[in-house]
Amino acid sequence: MEITKLKTNKFKTNLCALFITVPLLKETVTKNALLVSVLRRGTENLKSQEDISKRLEEMYGAGFNCGVDKIGNYHILKFFLETIDNSYTLEKENILQQGIDLLLEIVFKPLLENGAFKKEYVRQEKDNLIKILQSRQDNKAMYAKERCIEEMFEGEPYSLYKYGELDKIEEINEKSLYEYYKSLINNSKIDLFISGENIDGIELPDIKSSKLQEIKINHVSHSKIKVVKENLDVTQGKLIIGLNTPENDKIATSIYNTILGGGANSKLFQNVREKASLAYSAGSAYIRRQNTILIQTGIEINNYDKTLEIIKKQLQEMKNGNITKEEFVAAKTLIMSSVNLIPESEEDMIAYYFDQRLFDENLTVTEYYNKLKEVTMEQVIDVAKKISVDTIYFLKRED
């Protein structure tokens, strides 16, 4: 296990995070999602969720959280445990050590029954996963975003939904899942991050971590823009546009994205919302490890053409170099301050360093900040010229 300690005196709490990183694959994505939820059900010593919850409450309401995420072509199984710092305990307890021990117990000492996971737990978590996958459409904005990604990366790993696929759940049972778990634990990259003030004296067991095989992004972009329209029971149309961004120049691309759709100063916010009053929300998000920007806005359904035209015009303006110095400086300042804020949140700090490790970049927050500072307007315009629209997705009501 690769251990990273992030020492900071800014917080009254400690955060421990354990990440298991595996390739994002059709064959295993569903198993990973199910596995995480089975592990949180019980351990050798704390046999039920009720026991785990009681233990967490005794530890001054320590927070435990787990889930799955995708970053580029990797699937990450995440486990978090937050405790208060030892100096604030009422009876001078070593609550951080207890927290780490519990986190490791949940991941590495699951409750077993006849050499497999507990049958009942696996069955219940299968049912829950089915419900999660069936209710994907409940959050329309999120659903539209995920659908755009699915269409844009059809046939590529990133199109996979992080919770997996419905028709793969049935075939999994407590035995096959346990076999899969054993191979996962023995052959995956495992990272443990600990942040907080008094983190020196902790004891950690020796756990094996394997090297991750690098999987590069290899997106075949749509030479002709792919347009997908889908009907659902919505009052407001959700328009999502996927852009291809270059593999290199990621820092300049992040500034490009901020000028385009990062907050109230952006071209999208100003032109779609403030000038044309077409939307309440209009912005874009940069999925850095996937070389993608997603533009997102909620509009009246019959304003589709009008909105699309305004958005395309903004993209063209940026290609033509029509970015004012003011826009450039504002975007750079905004993004530099968000980098400055990374050490102000334990979660953000851990997420930042984990990502840096994963992609072998290893820049400290300060180093990253300095690189950002050096980016010029020319570099951003250069990026703008390389950016293309790949997929347009529109979620609307039936006509």
Binding site: E57, E58, S277, Y280, E344
Partner: protein, 419 residues
């Protein structure tokens, strides 16, 4: 300045009431780079009927005006959009409107004083014209439209309709497309002049500050304002019973959503103490570690823990318990039953109390959480640090008494959204 100190969690809070009546709360945090300020006024969606202090005239305003006013505050006479300006300074700026207050805020590591200039300038300089008020109607219309597609929002609004008959908490904060069509610049000025008076406002600041120094910085940016008398808000009479037992709405959701609500009409209790007792009750009886939650989870009735909230002001008080289930009626029956008929055991009481201590302590990790918490509590007349003090002295007997008095069958209601 009044100084309140808590040695257990090692925090000091500085409070001052200025000559113009404005309250300032400063919570210094030495080791952090991030600075945060939030400036709130006690003017929310429920304040739609009042007597204008200047003229003595009784005024009724269209629903959604507090929120509309919040949107329009950013526009300046010189054409500058203050939100734009704050973001250009690298500050994360925003504003929001709730039932009982409106707040303007920003946070960041650099340019704090430039941000303070802008914030205090725009909040003190309203600029409403027929054109700029008109322009906002489309944007807010889309914001309302977004809520229409939000099942959890409908679920909540329906619960308020169950719990109250005439209380303005039933209204949508943003109003309706119909109600906002009646808002004019005159409406906005009348509300601004009444509610955006320093005596009706509270400012909270957290970060690495010297309290005296930052207080002076704020004072010198405040404009003189004529004193106004007390603002008289007119609300419908306090209601002692619920309006409807159940409300159901059809929406496109796969698994039904529900809220079980309880009206709380218990008066003359210490607000903080009551609030802590309610948190202990809910956690012990239906929280993550409770027997009943485990049972419902195993039966497939629930797939994640229930969320709780106790919302209150002088005009309303209720508890909402929300979740997602294939069979919301059954979950509702079970939780209402356990809340009414079970006593809290000593062991669960002790554990819940420890958990609460950790929870309160963690609130002091981030200047933004601190600022928001102090503002929101202060709007309701509470100093947030009281929670840590009162919490120590709460006993099981008190908790069980509160439980018996609040959780009653005829005070409960159910809201469901399903296909």
């Amino acid at each position: 300045m009044e100084i309140i100190q808590n040695d257990q969690i090692k925090e000091k809070v500085y409070i001052d009431i200025l000559d113009n009546g404005m309250k300032i709360i400063i919570i210094p945090k030495e080791n952090t780079e991030k600075k945060y300020i939030i400036w709130g006024t006690k003017f929310g969606s429920i304040d739609n009927h009042f007597i204008e202090p200047k003229t003595g005239k009784e005024i009724k305003v269209p629903d959604g005006v507090a929120h509309y006013l919040e949107h329009k505050m950013f526009e300046q006479e010189n054409g500058v959009d203050s939100l734009y300006k704050l973001m250009s300074l690298g500050l994360d700026a925003n504003a929001y409107t709730t039932n009982d207050h409106t707040a303007y805020l920003f946070g960041g590591t650099n340019n704090f004083y430039e941000g303070l200039d802008e914030l205090m300038d725009y909040v003190q300089h309203p600029y409403f014209t027929d054109e700029n008020v008109e322009k906002e109607r489309g944007i807010i219309g889309q914001e309302i439209g977004r809520y229409d597609d939000e099942p959890t929002w409908k679920l909540y609004v329906n619960m308020m309709d169950c719990l109250y008959t005439n209380n303005p908490i039933k209204l949508d904060i943003a109003g309706t497309v119909e109600s906002i069509s009646q808002i004019t610049k005159e409406t906005l000025y009348s509300c601004y002049n009444t509610f955006y008076h320093p005596s009706n406002m509270i400012m909270c600041i957290s970060g690495n500050f010297n309290p005296e120094q930052i207080l002076e910085e704020v004072k010198k940016r405040l404009l003189p304002r004529e004193k106004i008398g007390e603002i008289k808000r007119i609300y419908p009479p306090y209601e002692n019973k619920i309006n409807k037992k159940i409300k159901e709405q059809k929406m496109d959701v796969n698994i039904p959503l529900f809220i079980t609500g309880f009206r709380d009409i218990l008066e003359n209790e210490n607000k903080v103490k009551k609030q802590i007792a309610i948190e202990i009750i809910l956690n012990s009886l239906i929280g993550k570690s409770s027997k009943i939650y485990q049972e419902m989870y195993n039966e497939g009735l629930l797939m994640s823990p229930l969320d709780f909230d106790h919302e209150f002001s002088d005009e309303y008080s209720h508890i909402i318990i929300s979740g997602q289930s294939e069979n919301p009626e059954k979950v509702n029956e079970k939780i209402v039953n356990v809340l009414i008929n079970s006593e809290i055991r000593n062991e669960d009481f002790w554990r819940s109390k420890r958990a609460l201590y950790g929870e309160y302590l963690s609130e002091y990790d981030d200047v933004e959480t601190i600022g928001r918490m102090f503002l929101q509590d202060s709007i309701r007349g509470i100093n947030s640090l009281e929670y840590i003090d009162v919490f120590k002295n709460i006993d099981l007997q008190y908790v069980n008494r509160i439980k018996k008095e609040i959780f009653k069958e005829d005070m409960s209601a159910l809201s469901i959204v399903r296909k």
